[in-house]
């Protein structure tokens, strides 16, 4: 597609260069017969090849995205059409719809809350952590740093299968007679600790805890691999300052995950003790179900600290990979170097560091000492600075470019738009005084859906459309992609923009219906509008799925090795979908940074091209 856009400039022949200058690690001498990929099972199921694992993460993530999306439609239906007859949902969700004598079906509050909870858990962890970071860290880290595979392909395989196991446990919990966990994705005790307080806090919560603990194992196995690979397996010449931005983002993401997820597990462990062994870490002075319980001296706020010590880095674990992907996609498609490469790296690192010291901004109104909040307000709002740097750098990357408005680029632009819209509302919420009013209202829901839900999804779409040729050797269909983009872009704003208004009117989140309150019941029309928009956006995603699977077999074939005229190493492999070991011969060595676009008369200069004698190298 894009290769014909550009003037053909005489570049040295890739193969010749790699043969002459590449690094021979004798890889293929040691891997005769390819023991890794002999049969169907070891090639496609229990594969240790990072590219197959990436596809496994992606497709599992897509399945979860559909499930999580459908869940949101169910509770959106309840919110948009609370008086409607939902008896027709009965074949799908059974007894969770109660039908009265007149034949009018109602979604039960238990089910509503279960859907809200599962939607959050699934999208945050399974889709935007595993599906996004899992997919692209796996696909791109070895390819872009010039490695044969991950440092430990076996742990990498385990990482996926722990995720798979975690998925299965979560999926099974949906079919419990007491229902899945329904106390919100943050699972605050005492609600999550006491089966007497909520049906879902019984077996549903147990399975939720088991599932997420398995998930953390998956994240840790993946993360340690990503870090090791980036630090130790970079090809010759690939200094840290020559790394493409996605790698910096994945690397930081993995560090964040490695430092924060264990804290979540420790929080879960104490919760498990309280639930099953009668300890009182989080529980104190509770009277529930007509009974005074014996717990004494615990603090529910301790759980919130442990949870958000992961929870806040987690939102950056979600958004950083998207930022990295978008930086690359925007740079390649605007044919401009990413503006302020080093500042982009510094801002990733700054965001990563700051993400560890802002967690209590989720807890301004939870009863922590208000004095402590002073520090968290300051640190939280400091994050706006590296975020602003990133936004301005993306804008300046577009400035003066020769932008190919491909679907991937559109999603990159959409990402920046969403990140601005959602990031700015964070400045309201991070200020504790404003949070007094906005905390736990729809303003918060609008904020984090735009800035981390929609934006991260957009980053993921940009990545999928952009690197699809690397995964399947074909392009996804551009026309369908663009319809998908416009439907999603307009639809996502249509869903989440009006939520700000409802939040500013003071309407709390997680309400099953609004007509119990005089103050909250006047937004029926807006709620209907958002529900209809959500249905349309979901329908657009079906378009994406059709396009995705159709293109695997029927998409337009990629004819050139480097279809986007990009500089990074993944486009130097002999076959467009690389086999095991990625490069058939030598590994290319790296001579320059990844962003020499339109530097001189050459339209692009790949990383393996040596720096000329009188040429200035940006990475020095």
């Amino acid at each position: 597609m894009a290769e014909v856009l550009e003037n053909k400039v005489n570049l040295p022949d890739v193969d010749q260069l790699i043969r002459e200058q590449g690094y021979d690690d004798h890889f293929h001498e040691h891997h005769h017969g390819d023991k890794y990929q002999s049969g169907f099972i070891s090639k496609y199921i229990f594969s240790m090849d990072h590219k197959i694992i990436a596809r496994q993460f992606l497709i599992t993530g897509m399945i979860w995205a559909v499930i999580g999306g459908l869940m949101s439609l169910i509770f959106r239906l309840q919110l948009g059409f609370p008086e409607e007859n939902f008896a027709w949902l009965r074949p799908l969700i059974g007894r969770w719809v109660t039908v009265n004598d007149a034949g009018v079906g109602t979604i039960t509050p238990e089910f509503y809350y279960a859907m809200v909870t599962m939607h959050g858990t699934i999208i945050v962890f399974f889709v935007l952590t595993a599906g996004l970071s899992g997919t692209f860290s796996n696909l791109l880290i070895p390819l872009q740093v010039g490695a044969r595979d991950m440092a430990s392909p076996f742990l990498n395989m385990l990482s996926y299968w722990f995720f798979f196991l975690s998925s299965i446990v979560m999926l099974l919990s949906l079919f419990l007679s007491t229902g899945p966990f329904s106390g919100g994705w943050t699972a605050y005790p005492p609600l999550s600790a006491l089966p007497q307080a909520s049906d879902g806090s019984g077996a549903g919560m147990t399975m939720w805890l088991v599932s997420l603990t398995l998930f953390v194992v998956s994240v840790l196995l993946g993360g340690i691999n990503y870090i090791t690979t980036v630090l130790n397996l970079r090809t010759k010449g690939m200094s840290m300052w020559k790394l493409p931005l996605p790698i910096w983002a994945f690397f930081t993401t993995a560090v964040l995950g490695l430092l924060s997820f264990p804290v979540l597990v420790s929080g879960f462990l104490l919760l498990f003790f309280d639930r099953s062994l009668g300890t009182s870490f989080y529980l104190s002075e509770i009277f529930v179900g007509g009974q005074a319980l014996d717990f004494a001296g615990g603090s529910p706020i301790l759980y919130q600290h442990l949870f958000w010590f992961l929870g806040h880095p987690e939102v950056y674990i979600i958004i950083l990979p998207a930022m990295g992907i978008v930086s690359e996609v925007l740079s390649v498609n605007s044919r401009r170097p990413i503006f302020g490469y080093r500042f982009m790296v510094y801002s990733i690192l700054a965001i990563g560091f700051l993400s560890f010291i802002v967690w209590a901004h989720h807890m301004f109104m939870s009863g922590v000492n208000p004095f402590i909040s002073n520090f968290f307000v300051i640190f939280t709002l400091i994050i706006a600075v590296p975020s602003a740097v990133k936004v301005f750098n993306w804008l300046t990357t577009l400035y003066g470019g020769n932008i190919r408005l491909t679907t991937a680029a559109l999603y990159g632009i959409g990402f920046v738009s969403m990140f601005i819209s959602g990031g700015l509302t964070g400045i309201f919420l991070g200020n504790s005084a404003i949070d007094v009013q906005q905390h736990d209202t729809y303003f918060v829901v609008a904020h984090f859906h735009i800035v981390m839900g929609v934006a991260a999804m957009f980053g993921m779409f940009a990545g999928v459309y952009h690197w699809y040729p690397k995964m399947y050797g074909r392009f996804m269909n551009e026309t369908l992609g663009k319809i998908h983009f416009w439907g999603t872009m307009i639809g996502a704003y249509a869903i989440f923009w009006p939520m700000h208004y409802i939040g500013m009117a003071g309407v709390p989140r997680r309400y099953y219906r609004f007509d119990t309150f005089e103050a909250f019941k006047h937004f029926g029309a807006l709620n209907k509008f958002m529900t209809i928009a959500a249905i349309i956006v979901f329908a657009c995603q079906i378009l994406f799925i059709i396009n995705f699977f159709y293109s695997i077999w029927k998409g337009r074939k990629v004819t050139s090795r480097n279809p986007y005229n990009a500089n990074t190493l993944e486009w130097t492999t002999e076959t467009i979908v690389p086999g095991h070991g990625n490069w058939e011969g030598n590994i290319p060595t790296v001579q320059r940074w990844a962003y020499d676009y339109n530097k001189d008369e050459r339209e692009f200069i790949p990383q393996y091209v040596p720096v000329g004698p009188d040429e200035k190298d940006e990475s020095h």
Partner: protein
């Protein structure tokens, strides 16, 4: 069948979609890929600008349309003193972020359009500029310093606890699945202690009744507060997390079991004043029931509300209480009409630690009542020797003339009367109901009246000033056919014979 139709439609759509895809591929083959690329870029670029314009118009128009429903704007300005600073800070932030929002969104879409790939265009090479990076690090930093400084000043002000000289009213809100319990301190102005292990059907909060501060505390169905008075709400929970949320007052704080929290605020508008404020806005002139055009307008039915803002289970959405802000006088009269929880539901029940005893207030109230009746008789010569005064709380063991310890309260009153009026003579009379043998009853009443007299004698009152007489069942004050009636008839009476 429906499922089949739906499935058919989906399948059909899928085919249409695939065909669109194929068509676009075919089109690029026929027209030449390069031309199609530039053409597509052009269309997409224009669409981006169109989207930007449409999006910004949508933002502004919809915000203006919903303005009067949003807190802080139109009629919904804060009804509390501190809320103004929150609304102000929100607007300051909106001002700065609004500028950034418009500028960056416009640049984003405009650049995407302006620099769209076109035949013959070459991108510039401009990989970075430390100067620019510093500009867009420092400018946001300055704005953030302003926002943080204002925010923290407001925050610490809002969160400051009450001082004794504030003379604040303290009430307590306790969340439980799925309602709020509102407790007022009563006349002593102090909330009594409580312990969740003491919770029973009658004692929903587990108040410790041996703590005297609890005895005048009362529970209210709604929060009623005087306008202009600083209120400290102590917020607690019985079971899971809740959140005490008063949207119109910009008040929000989690209720945590085992860890009381608080929020201090001062209401500045009565419910009536707030309604008047709504009245002039056409949004609030609509009928309150959309299906009934004749129903009261919205402004008239407006009420402040308390809700829950922390997920607490399936009834989370229904934890509503009304909040009424009234004038000082209305508040006082409302307070006077409230009865303490202890007196209405605990007193003399099995849970009452003071069962079988009179509380100091009751002793005092009885003393006041006793002497005011005595005064009435003494002042009117027509009543002397005629009017009988029922002695309350004089009790004997069943079937016996032995006084119980409880009788001491009234006997003390009697002694005080006799000591203060050293010449007074009285008659003490015993009465029974009609149960049992009449002669035995007469005897018992005689002995009981004498027992009272003997007690007074033992406390130093001259015997000759007191006459004791038993009337048995001959002088009932009520019919004897109910237990309540018989209860009234079993009594000891006092008659003043001379001053």
């Amino acid at each position: 069948m429906t499922a089949l139709v739906i499935f058919g439609i989906i399948a059909l759509l899928a085919i249409v979609v695939v065909q669109i895809g194929k068509l676009s591929d075919l089109r690029s083959k026929i027209m030449g890929e390069e031309d199609i690329q530039y053409q597509n870029n052009d269309i997409t670029g224009k669409l981006l600008v169109l989207f930007m314009v449409g999006f910004l118009i949508f933002c502004v128009v919809s915000a203006l349309y919903y303005k009067n429903w949003m807190l802080g704007y139109g009629p919904l300005k804060s009804a509390s003193e501190h809320g103004g600073s929150i609304d102000g800070l929100f607007n300051t932030t909106l001002f700065f972020t609004g500028i950034v929002f418009v500028v960056t969104q416009v640049l984003l879409f405009w650049y995407a359009y302006k620099y769209r790939s076109q035949r013959g265009r070459k991108a510039i090479y401009f990989p970075g500029s430390t100067k620019l990076e510093l500009v867009w690090s420092i400018v946001p930093s300055i704005v953030l310093v302003i926002l943080v400084a204002n925010g923290l000043i407001a925050w610490n002000d809002i969160m400051a606890d009450t001082r004794p000289e504030d003379n604040a009213l303290e009430i307590e809100a306790t969340g439980y699945q799925f309602a709020w319990n509102i407790r007022y301190p009563g006349p002593d102005g102090e909330l009594g202690t409580k312990n969740y292990k003491k919770i029973t059907g009658l004692n929903g909060l587990g108040q410790d009744w041996t703590d005297i501060k609890n005895l005048d505390d009362f529970n209210a169905d709604e929060i009623v507060l005087p306008v202009g008075k600083k209120v400290r709400v102590r917020i607690t929970s019985k079971d899971v997390l809740h959140n005490f949320y008063l949207p119109h007052f910009r008040v929000k704080m989690d209720a945590v079991p085992g860890l009381p929290t608080h929020f201090v605020f001062t209401p500045i508008k009565t419910t009536e004043e707030f309604r008047e404020g709504l009245r002039q806005y056409k949004e609030y002139q609509a009928p309150s029931d959309p299906n009934d055009p004749a129903s009261e307008p919205l402004w008239k039915t407006f009420n402040y509300e308390l809700g829950c803002a922390e997920l607490c289970g399936i009834g989370h959405y229904s934890m509503r209480r009304l909040v009424r802000i009234v004038s000082e006088q209305e508040y006082e009269s409302w307070l006077a009409s409230q009865k303490s929880t202890y007196m209405t539901s605990i007193r003399n029940s099995d849970e009452d630690p003071f069962k079988g005893q009179l509380l100091d207030v009751e002793v005092k109230a009885r003393r006041d009542a006793f002497f005011s009746e005595v005064d009435k008789i003494i002042k009117d010569d027509n009543l002397i020797g005629k009017e009988a005064l029922r002695l309350e709380n004089i009790q004997f063991e069943t079937g016996s003339d032995k006084l119980t310890a409880f009788s001491k309260y009234e006997l003390d009153n009697l002694i005080e009367l006799m000591v203060n009026n050293s010449t007074m003579t009285i008659e003490l009379s015993g009465h029974t109901d009609n149960t049992g043998d009449a002669a035995a009853n007469l005897d018992l009443s005689n002995r009981r009246a004498a027992a009272v007299r003997d007690y007074l004698v033992s406390r130093g009152i001259q015997a000759e000033r007191m006459k004791s007489v038993g009337y048995g069942q001959t002088r009932p004050v009520e019919p004897n056919d109910t237990e309540a009636g018989r209860q009234k008839n079993r009594r000891t009476e006092l008659r003043i014979l001379s001053k």
